[in-house]
């Protein structure tokens, strides 16, 4: 008879370490995770169903609300899919503006993630630092689009607003600011001993597993897969950027191992890459119109005459966002199917949790930059059936205690 004793540990569906509700069911042996199971669906809003009752333009604003952080990525993938199906050519200037907005979004998303990751390992100074410097890019987005999130700038066939000459100094000032702070931020994030102790060799996803489980975005790149839609299947201004290549931990002099630290390296280096891409777009911005049809009703009428299918693929900050749309002489798509990066990367958690300690669960969950969220419930059932509840404070305390223990 086996003497091995395991215990169930349930985290979620709502918990401060998550940005959206999701349920994790672990089997624990001592402090180590043996198996993991995931339950989705706590925040399923049937967006694809709702979209059937919306027209082509209304759907844009529905899709912005799938995710507040990726609020340009979903409309972008949708526009690309519809434009492919309807064979619409987007004006060059609009392609560059789309790229700039997308990269500004990547900049603030990666800074946000770095802060969240720092908080998960009890490093709140870094959390406040990154969220503080993130304000600058949000201010810039507000100046260009009018909003800090949910920008409402994309439309089918182009963008709704131009980046006018008076906005270029605002953009330049933002880039100068990040050029100035990047090296200091990189040093604090990547060279810090506390970060390295908590993130190296934790939550490992091997290259083979990343390929088999179809990982995308920084999660795949950290495991040594040079996969980036901006390079593999480029749209907008990305085909013009000759020097663009997928970021790898090798760029920081580290052989990819697929641990949390590698994911951190990839995201930090992509901040610098995004600054360079925006700079390229500003220097090479073409003249001309920013859309092919500013009137929504005319665009809907034109699309109503079209039939076809299209796949829109876009590299969001978290990984590949793709939309599949079928046009069939209707005011809206006959079918709209959405795939977010967490949908692809979520299954890789099953591999990452192998032999992870309880105190490392939050940082491993956060390491794929999931769309999962808030509140405060974590229950632990011991062998005798007694039940206790670990609050977010308890979990945070465990994480800080581990930090002190290994830092000695």
């Amino acid at each position: 008879m086996s003497t091995r004793q395991t215990y169930p540990l349930h985290i979620g569906p709502t918990h401060p370490a998550f940005k959206e509700p999701i349920q994790f069911n672990f089997e624990i042996e001592g402090e180590k995770v043996i198996t993991c199971d995931i339950e989705f669906g706590y925040t399923h809003r049937a967006v694809e169903h709702i979209a059937r009752e919306r027209n082509f333009i209304q759907i844009l604003y529905l899709l912005e609300r799938i995710c507040g952080i990726c609020s340009v990525s979903h409309p972008m993938a949708y526009c690309l899919a519809v434009e492919q199906a309807a064979e619409i050519e987007v004006p060059p200037r609009a392609k560059y503006i789309r790229t700039i907005i997308g990269e500004l979004e990547r900049l603030h998303s990666h800074l946000l993630w770095t802060g969240v990751a720092a908080h998960e390992i009890g490093f709140d100074t870094l959390f406040l630092y990154t969220w503080n410097i993130r304000e600058k890019v949000l201010d810039c987005l507000e100046a260009i689009t009018g909003n800090r999130i949910n920008y409402g700038i994309l439309t089918i066939g182009g963008v709704r607003r131009d980046i006018t000459p008076d906005l270029f100094p605002v953009l330049q000032e933002t880039l100068d600011y990040y050029y100035d702070v990047f090296e200091r931020a990189r040093e604090i994030i990547l060279d810090n001993m506390s970060v390295q102790l908590r993130c190296k060799n934790v939550g490992v996803l091997s290259r083979e597993d990343a390929l088999a489980y179809c990982a995308v975005g920084p999660t795949a790149r950290a495991s040594g897969i040079p996969k980036d839609v901006r390079v593999d299947y480029p749209v907008n201004a990305y085909p013009d950027i000759e020097w663009l290549k997928p970021v790898s931990p090798l760029d920081a002099g580290r052989e990819p191992r697929g641990d949390v630290y590698d994911r951190m390296i990839v995201r930090v280096l992509e901040i610098r890459q995004s600054i360079d891409i925006i700079h390229f777009c500003m220097d090479n911005m073409p003249d001309g119109p920013v859309d092919i049809e500013p009137k929504a009703t005319k665009m809907i009428s034109a699309l109503k005459k079209k039939q076809g299918e299209g796949i829109g693929r876009y590299e969001a900050p978290r990984g590949e966002v793709s939309h599949y749309d079928i046009l069939d002489n209707r005011e809206g798509p006959l079918l709209m199917k959405v795939k977010a990066p967490t949908y692809s990367n979520g299954i890789t958690w099953l591999k990452m949790f192998n032999n992870v300690e309880i105190a490392d669960i939050p940082i491993v969950i956060a390491s794929i930059d999931p769309c999962v969220a808030c509140a405060d419930r974590m229950s632990f059932v011991d062998a005798g059936g007694r039940r206790s509840v670990l609050t977010s404070t308890d979990l945070h305390k465990m994480s800080v205690e581990k930090q002190k223990r290994i830092g000695k």
Binding site: Y213, N236, P239, I311, Y324, V338
Partner: protein, 174 residues
């Protein structure tokens, strides 16, 4: 070895012949200063050879799926779309989208799982089962992915004829 779409098409034709119901290439040019052609292969195969065709794709390169599985309803059958990508990882990553379609008769909505070939497709197959009512044979985890467990088993939310619950008995009881 680098992949080329012509070679992929030629090998698929040689291997599956009449079992291929449709085959075309979508071409699109992207870029402003530097034009770049992009091609996607769209292939429709019979259900009989579907699993073997996916396995065959894997012999040509690394198989990946990052786009959503989609569907389209016709009078007597349902079309399932598997938007795979195939890459060699050489040079410019060399990724080629291969969108595979398969038709399922309305009176027998079943297809064999491909999780044995591509484990990462599991969530998509689970969602296809619960949303469309397609039976994925031999799937390692047949549980629902998103919908509430109190929903009736025969309620398939994304089927066109079942967009709304038919009566009060189908409402979710919490």
């Amino acid at each position: 070895m680098a992949l080329h779409h012509e070679e992929i098409i030629s090998r698929l034709k040689n291997e599956f012949g009449d079992e291929i119901l449709g085959l075309n290439v979508i071409e699109r040019t992207e870029g402003v200063l530097r034009k770049r052609d992009q091609r996607s292969i769209v292939i429709s195969v019979t259900r009989r050879v579907f699993h073997r065709a996916v396995l065959f794709l894997k012999t040509m390169g690394t198989l990946h799926i990052a786009c959503p599985m989609a569907s389209r309803e016709f009078d007597d059958f349902l079309e399932l779309t598997y938007p795979f990508t195939l890459f060699s990882g050489e040079g410019d990553f060399n990724e080629i989208p291969v969108i595979m379609k398969v038709l399922l008769p309305e009176d027998d909505l079943s297809i064999r799982t491909v999780t044995d070939i591509l484990p990462g497709i599991l969530f998509m197959e689970r969602e296809t089962m619960e949303m469309l009512g397609v039976v994925i044979e031999d799937i390692p985890d047949p549980r629902r992915l998103f919908t509430h467990s109190n929903l009736p088993d025969d309620f398939k939310p994304l089927r066109e004829d079942q967009l709304e619950p038919e009566d009060d008995s189908q409402e979710i009881k919490y």
